[in-house]
């Protein structure tokens, strides 16, 4: 078992399970050493305290495996509802359409489409699935995300130019908004796939 010689042990880390002041069954399955997988106690087997990995590579490996398994089980839950993607597309298009057909309501359209709708969608999606949107969880954004962001900013700049130089031209920005909306929905959907893949990878 472990000793008190762990280089990690500070003043509070005593021998045995001293790394955790709350040892007991509620502390979870202990890290196994040797052949145990460390994923939990067997039937009738009391879960032990959590020994510090200390210098025990097997215990550290078991802890990593348990963490990997936990991540993998979460992957099955990553399934953002279809209406989240659809709503994102709608909100994006709405913002551009309100810029296009400006009847004094473009500010409301932008606030609704680009701020309120995504925010509410995120809240409702979290309520429906128990998880935040996958796009916010990724360690790395998909490549398409950068392109989408650029296209979005480009669209906003174009909107300003259209307003100034071609104030009578209607429909172009709405079309651009619809295109970006579909793009956003695809990216959002793709984020689910990427997150699932990330979660299934070993730690």
């Amino acid at each position: 078992m472990e000793s008190n010689s762990s280089p990690h042990g500070g003043p509070g880390s005593g021998p045995g399970a001293g790394h955790d002041p709350e040892n007991g069954p509620e502390n979870g399955p202990g890290y196994a050493s040797g052949g145990d997988t460390g994923h939990g106690p067997g039937p009738g087997q009391a879960p032990g305290p959590a020994p510090a990995p200390g210098h025990d590579p097997a215990a550290a490996r078991a802890a990593l495996d348990a963490a990997s398994e936990t991540r993998a089980s979460l992957a099955d839950r990553v399934d953002t509802p279809w209406w989240y993607h659809a709503g994102l597309a709608l909100g994006t298009a709405l913002g551009f359409a309100s810029l296009d057909f400006d009847y004094g309501l473009s500010t409301y359209g932008i606030i609704t489409g680009w701020i309120l709708i995504p925010m509410l969608l995120g809240l409702f999606a979290a309520r429906a699935t128990g998880l935040g949107p996958s796009i916010a969880s990724l360690s790395k954004r998909p490549k398409m995300f950068g392109g989408l962001l650029l296209a979005f900013i480009g669209g906003v700049v174009a909107a300003a130019l259209f307003k100034y130089f071609l104030p009578d031209l209607r429909g172009v920005l709405t079309g651009w908004g619809v295109l970006l909306g579909v793009w956003a929905a695809v990216v959002s959907h793709r984020c689910d796939d990427i997150l699932r893949r990330e979660l299934r990878s070993r730690l």
Partner: protein, 103 residues
């Protein structure tokens, strides 16, 4: 230098807390009941571990407004918590590598 510095973290070390942190690191936000189902523990056990992590400022918890029923609790890892987890995982990897030296 690349990657987080391997640092053993006493708070993250406990098996359930390590799993909680790993779950939260993989998601922006997770609901209390989802964590409970994933870990297969009781409310009280989960609450206890969340409290330890919260006291260490490793996570934040927020409840829905009172008029919504049932009120749901959402949990997120803080930057500090993420850093602690990354360091702890790096340390576990370092230790695990001792058993399996590169061929």
């Amino acid at each position: 230098m690349s990657g987080p510095e391997p640092v053993f973290d006493e708070v993250v070390h406990a098996p359930y807390r390590l799993r909680i942190c790993v779950l939260l690191a993989a998601t922006d936000t997770a609901e209390f009941s989802l964590l409970r189902e994933e870990l297969q523990v009781s409310d009280s056990v989960l609450s206890k571990h969340l409290k330890v992590l919260r006291e260490a400022k490793y996570l934040t918890m927020g409840k829905e407004p009172a008029e919504r029923a049932p009120r749901r609790t959402y949990v997120s890892l803080t930057t500090r918590g993420r850093k602690a987890l990354d360091g702890h995982l790096a340390e576990l990897r370092r230790l695990a590598a001792l058993a399996a030296p590169e061929d």
